[in-house]
């Protein structure tokens, strides 16, 4: 009798403990998901800010004016000329070797 009663109690306690453990794990995972949502938001915003900063730094207004004022030395692309139009002309400009050395 005592054995049966003890077994029943133990079983109930074990089920409860397992339930609590599962609930804890579930909450932990929920927190993890929430944190990942938050981190994703932060990363998206950081990406947007960095993209904004790079686009500001390389905006045609800023770069063209600097080139015309002689503040930025550029040389044309040494690759053979292509007949098709260039899609990203600013990417084809780069600092001259003298300027690079001076910067070093």
């Amino acid at each position: 009798m005592l054995f049966r009663f003890s077994s029943a109690i133990l079983l109930a306690v074990a089920v409860s403990l397992i339930g609590i453990a599962l609930e804890k794990e579930s909450l932990k995972l929920k927190r993890l998901v929430s944190r990942q949502h938050y981190q994703l938001d932060v990363l998206v915003n950081t990406h947007a800010k960095m993209k904004l900063a790079t686009q500001r730094a390389g905006s045609p207004r800023q770069v063209l004016n600097s080139i015309e004022r002689g503040e930025l030395d550029v040389e044309s692309n040494q690759q053979p000329a292509l007949s098709n139009r260039r899609e990203m002309p600013l990417l084809q400009w780069h600092l001259t070797p003298q300027k690079k050395q001076a910067e070093k």
Partner: protein, 594 residues
Amino acid sequence: MNFVPSNLRNSGRTWCLVLIVVLAWLVISCRLVYLQYIGHRQFARVVARQQVYKEKIPARPGDILDRNGRLLATTIVSNSLYVVPQRLKNEQNVARICDILQLDQTDFLKGLAANRDKLFLWVKRRLSDQELAAIRVLDLSDDVWGFRQEYRRQYPQGALAAHALGLRDIDGKGQGGLEEAFDHLICGEDGYRFLIRDAHGRVIEVRNDSRVAARNGETLVVTLDSIIQLYTERQLQSIVEEWKPKSACAIVMDVKTCEVLAMASVPTFDLNHPAGINESAWKNTAIASIYEPGSTLKPFIVAAALEKGLIHTEEEFDCEQGEYRMGKRLLHDHHSYGILNVTDVLVKSSNIGMAKIGEKLTNPGLYEAVTAFGFGQKTGIQLPGELSGIVRPLKDWNIYSTGSIPMGQEIAVTPVQLITGHVALANQGKLLNPRLIRDQIDHNYFPRSEEEPAQVRPLVSTPIVSAAVADWLVQVPMVETVSRGTGKKAQLEEYVVFGKTGTAQKPDPKTGKYSSELHVSSFICGAPAHDPRVLVLVVVNEPSVGENHYGGTIAGPPAAEILKQTLMYQRVPFDHSSEAPLERTAQRQRNALR
């Protein structure tokens, strides 16, 4: 004496007790039934209202890119500062906050006093990073002051293409330009999620299972090219400095696709700092201003007459030595001309020659010509505020109209209508809808799936005149207009340019008659003449410096400069050389290496 037996007395007490207990249980059960069954929904609602908070997840507005992927508009998260007026007891920080945020302290305190019983009041929305850092240093009380995150629109190119882009107001709603026209696509759709709060209102759980994610706004790829736009705006600025006009605008279009490569107006404004700008600067004069086109309309009339076979290319007209009477009206030319052929009528921009072509077309033919080229109706460019121009109903036309319409009077057009019509001539007579949207992609810059068709307008092509007529007009009279006519100042060394000048008198607001001082000077040009690639229109409204307000003098040189820079930027081979410019550069480099 007690006549009731004790066992019965005890039994009565027992029954009484049982009754009380049963009644109590009945009351409790009824209450339980009421709470759990009858009033369940109401109480569940109350609990849900107290515990569950539906939080909006704002959609991130989409970016706007130029045709080469340069960022024209984007969105970042920024913090907005609020205060809880009810809890603000100590106002010692107010002065410092007002100082940091450049707010008027008196106004702010008035606002606080007026909302003293409220639990929320904005202090300043969308703080800059510097402002945020300075406020954080103050270490304000969390109970009284707080931040909320909001999206802030940023324009990394500054004032570039301000009118075409438009901006978003404090509530994130598109105002003007593409921001307004495509607000429904750029805005996206807000999502939401449920937060579980305790009795103190603190969040204890975020219910992600019932979360509805926000659908971020679409990214638009526009047809504008930042470099060409910059060239164009710089030329407009030089016009402002030299001629001090009331306003001016320029449009650059790709002839083959009718895509707008640049659209600029002055006065303009900086998209990142729109506060306090002049009201006139808001107007996109390229689409929202109308004017009499003057001589720039003449090629359309000649095209219609040629198309109908009413004149032929070698036909000659007597220009009456500069004076010609049409009914009661005496027409004049700027110079006295005798016999001129069709080419010279256009090259010398003879009003009398054009009036005689108008007589051949008659009013119905003239009406048909101007409406066929799209005047009097919106072009369908994807911008808000476009005007239709003015083409009066044919029944209102008279003998004056027969002389006036062919010289570009009695009709009002927008710059975008005019250049669209000229694109049709340069594009072998095919009239296209001008386009500002090149592509529509999702917020991650991935192409849209095929199940989601783009919502931008399709390209519509309608032949207006035959290719032979259109090509002849472009390659003969309009080329000669630049080589030996009124547009000589727009000649380029590198390319064979075709074009047409326009100098229209404006009505004097005082007298209602044409003024001899107020003009709209315009010039439209394109190149290369044998295979037009780009068309440029420059319109200068009321230049105020000097007395020579001819379109060829004021608008011609800047238009030609924009055209040259655009063609060279697009690597269009030079006309005046057998070698393409880049091939010549490569040859020079090879020679240098030897």
